[in-house]
């Protein structure tokens, strides 16, 4: 993952609440086996008309929304599925930040792991941003604040580990693999207990398969 520390953009707004993962990327497009190229399918059924042309009623199709990488969305964005295709599609579409008063758990975790800043702010600040589309914001991950055009700031919380990973481009799998000794020790103890219950013997290969990094 590339480090993400600061993002500057105008905002585009989707006021709808509960924008679910089926709206972000409809299920019939999930037959893909790669992560790439999902941007053109992002918001597909909302964004295009039946004949394939752009739907003028879709807010992100408006001229003023072009080039915006910060999306302010209605409450409870990303609810529904655990499909990581949703953040992949948003990123490929050009969205780098989602600001919302409430973001669904699994979506938020998936988003942050891919460098999509899913940021929760208070209901009042959220309301204000919903009411002011197109303003210039700069998101500071290190300082955990959103800079407003008038110099004001909106502070936000970010889980410290997610913040660390974003700022340093840390790969979480790499981090987990650094703990392989601890995992081994845990497995030995747990499997020992389980083997006692289930009358199973444990093979060395189960404890630490060859080829595992470390």
């Amino acid at each position: 993952m590339k480090p993400v520390s600061r993002i500057h953009s105008r905002t585009a707004v989707l006021v709808d609440e509960n924008i679910d993962t089926d709206r972000i990327i409809p299920a019939r497009f999930l037959t893909t086996t790669t992560r790439e190229g999902l941007g053109k399918l992002c918001f597909n059924d909302w964004r295009y008309q039946a004949d394939g042309s752009d739907n003028p009623a879709f807010p992100l199709n408006r001229p003023e929304a072009q080039g915006c990488s910060i999306l302010v969305a209605g409450r409870n964005f990303g609810c529904g599925s655990s499909r990581e295709h949703a953040p992949w599609a948003l990123l490929d579409y050009g969205i780098q930040v989602v600001l919302c008063s409430e973001i669904a758990d699994i979506f938020r975790g998936n988003a942050l792991k891919n460098g999509l800043l899913a940021i929760m702010i208070s209901a009042a600040e959220h309301r204000w941003l919903l009411d002011h589309p197109g303003i210039e914001l700069s998101i500071d991950v290190r300082g955990q604040f959103i800079g407003l055009p008038d110099g004001g700031r909106i502070a936000f919380e970010l889980e410290p580990f997610a913040r660390h990973c974003l700022l340093n481009g840390v790969d979480q799998l790499g981090y987990l693999l650094q703990h392989v000794d601890q995992i081994d020790a845990f497995v030995r103890e747990r499997e020992g207990q389980e083997a006692a219950i289930h009358g199973r013997t444990l093979q060395q290969s189960e404890l630490r398969p060859e080829g595992l990094g470390a």
């Binding site: 006021v15 709808d16 609440e17 509960n18 679910d20 089926d22 709206r23 409809p26 299920a27 019939r28 999930l30 037959t31 893909t32 086996t33 790669t34 992560r35 059924d45 209605g74 409450r75 409870n76 609810c79 529904g80 599925s81 655990s82 499909r83 990581e84 953040p87 409430e102 669904a104 758990d105 699994i106 975790g109 998936n110 792991k113 889980e159 410290p160 580990f161 660390h164 979480q172 799998l173 981090y175 987990l176 693999l177 703990h179 392989v180 601890q182 995992i183 845990f186 497995v187 747990r190 006692a196 219950i197 289930h198 009358g199 189960e206 398969p209 060859e210 080829g211 595992l212 990094g213």
Partner: protein, 471 residues
């Protein structure tokens, strides 16, 4: 040790490294379920990094989402919706072969929807941590397991390390007191609960369902309840294992046997919340007040009793949802004309669900112009249903009897509704377009779905069940 909830007991038993202010906990995973849609990119990542699976013996894979539910063609090919769907299935077959994962694929007598199959095989057991790249993994919580959906990046984490990085969620108790009235089932109850809690009411929490009404539920019904925990925004839902759980699991292929079984049950008995355990939130639901429940809008929280008036929209967006659904404020959902009825999915595709639908359909015929699909949740469900002759009831009533799979729950295999059609569906999501672009979904129980198929309109199953009683 201080009093702990069921969730805390299972969580604590799987912590490899506790969380700190700066880092999440490392949580060990006992069982990793895999399907074709959310795994290909994770296998690719492993390949790119030259990593192997840490515990292929703790993984089970199945084909369910992209698979056709129509029988094999005369030439031996499968009627896939498109080449991409077929390629995705082939990719999982290849990945499982290459990485040594047990795949319940085509030709397996036990293939099924991942959340139907895992429990049936006895792979799902109390006290386990279970994950899958699928949000309805919460289903397995019915056994007192901590089970939740993960994204594809995390699928890769579990493949390589058998662990996940997790912050400890909060807990919420949902006490369901009293008993459900006759003709009202688990699906009605969970829709009612989501309608009460709201679709984001459980965000950040693991739910524990408890109380007399929950204890009275069968395992199939408990799975229906836990399945939809995610529709309240929760990470997971859990029910403490009890005699019902143990009786259901005993003798299943992957459950412990003999002396190991007795030892396992003894350990599982400790898996209940201590009397003075504290939850971050608690709510109470009176089971006696639950009616046959359906949805009127475009998310699962828009749930009301079948004969209750649709509430007036309180925002432009709510009005849009009513417009999309052609729901009328002030009018009940009961009576709305129906085009398609779907009985199936990991919410309601188990044997007891098919029995409930068959009981209503028995000796009757689906209304003219209504298409009804009955899709068993697994090969095992299909076999059992056919042994009982349920398929004959469905076929005689004019319904289609299909091969197991997710089918119209997610509509990515070609089973879908046309724009504008109204589907009464036993699945779990009524989002816009979930069952086909422009399709309108009313979530309901199998009995309500069957009654609606007969009436050609959204109908109260009690009418049919009462006739049965007086006949």
């Amino acid at each position: 040790m201080s009093a702990r909830t069921l969730f805390e007991k299972v969580w604590d038993a799987h912590v490899v490294a506790p969380e700190t202010a700066d880092t999440p906990a490392i949580l060990y995973v006992d069982l990793h379920l895999v399907h074709e849609v959310t795994s290909p990119q994770a296998f690719s990542e492993l390949r790119e990094r030259g990593l192997k699976l840490r515990r292929s013996d703790r993984m089970l894979a199945t084909l369910d989402h992209s698979t056709p539910t129509l029988p094999i063609n005369a030439d031996g090919s499968r009627p896939y919706v498109n080449a991409e769907a077929q390629a995705q299935v082939t990719q999982l077959e290849t990945n499982c072969r290459e990485f040594g994962v047990e795949l319940y694929g085509w030709g397996s007598a036990d293939r099924g929807i991942v959340h139907v199959m895992g429990p049936e095989l006895g792979a799902t057991q109390p006290g386990m941590t279970i994950v899958c790249g699928d949000s309805h993994t919460s289903t397995h919580g019915a056994f007192g397991a901590l089970a939740f959906g993960i994204g594809t990046t995390e699928v890769g984490h579990v493949m390589a390390t058998q662990c996940l990085l997790q912050r400890k969620p909060k807990t919420m108790a949902i006490h369901v007191d009293g008993q459900l009235p006759r003709g009202v089932g688990a699906k009605d109850l969970i829709l009612h609960i989501i309608g009460t809690v709201g679709i984001d009411g459980g965000t950040g929490h693991v739910l524990e369902y408890r109380g007399a009404a929950i204890e009275a539920l069968s395992m199939d019904e408990r799975m229906t309840v836990c399945n939809m925990s995610i529709e309240a925004g929760a990470r997971a839902g859990m029910i403490a294992p009890d005699e019902t759980t143990f009786a259901w699991l005993k003798g299943r292929p992957r459950a412990p046997q003999g002396a190991a079984w007795d030892a396992a049950v003894a350990a599982w008995r400790a898996l209940r919340s201590d009397d003075d355990a504290r939850y971050d939130r608690e709510i109470h639901i009176d089971a006696r007040s639950v009616q046959p429940t359906v949805t009127f809008g475009t998310h699962p929280g828009s749930a009301i009793a079948i004969d209750a008036p649709v509430p007036v929209a309180s925002s432009a967006q709510d009005q849009r949802a009513l417009d999309y659904m052609h729901s009328q404020a002030g009018q009940p959902i009961q009576g709305m004309p129906v085009d398609v009825v779907f009985v199936g999915s990991c919410t309601n595709g188990r044997l007891s669900d098919l029995r409930a639908a068959a009981r209503v359909l028995q000796g009757r015929h689906v209304a003219a112009g209504v298409r009804m699909l009955v899709v068993p949740g697994s090969e095992m469900v299909r076999r059992d249903a056919e042994l009982e002759g349920l398929h004959k009831v469905f076929l005689a009533a004019g319904a289609e009897w299909r091969e197991p799979g997710c089918s119209m729950c997610i509509a990515m295999n070609g089973d879908l509704a046309q724009p504008g059609q109204l589907v009464v569906s036993t699945s779990n999501r009524n989002f816009e377009g979930r069952q086909g672009k422009g399709a309108r979904t009313v979530l309901a129980s199998p009995a309500t779905a069957a009654a609606s198929a007969l009436a050609g309109r959204v109908a109260d199953p009690r009418e049919y069940l009462n006739q049965e009683q007086t006949a």
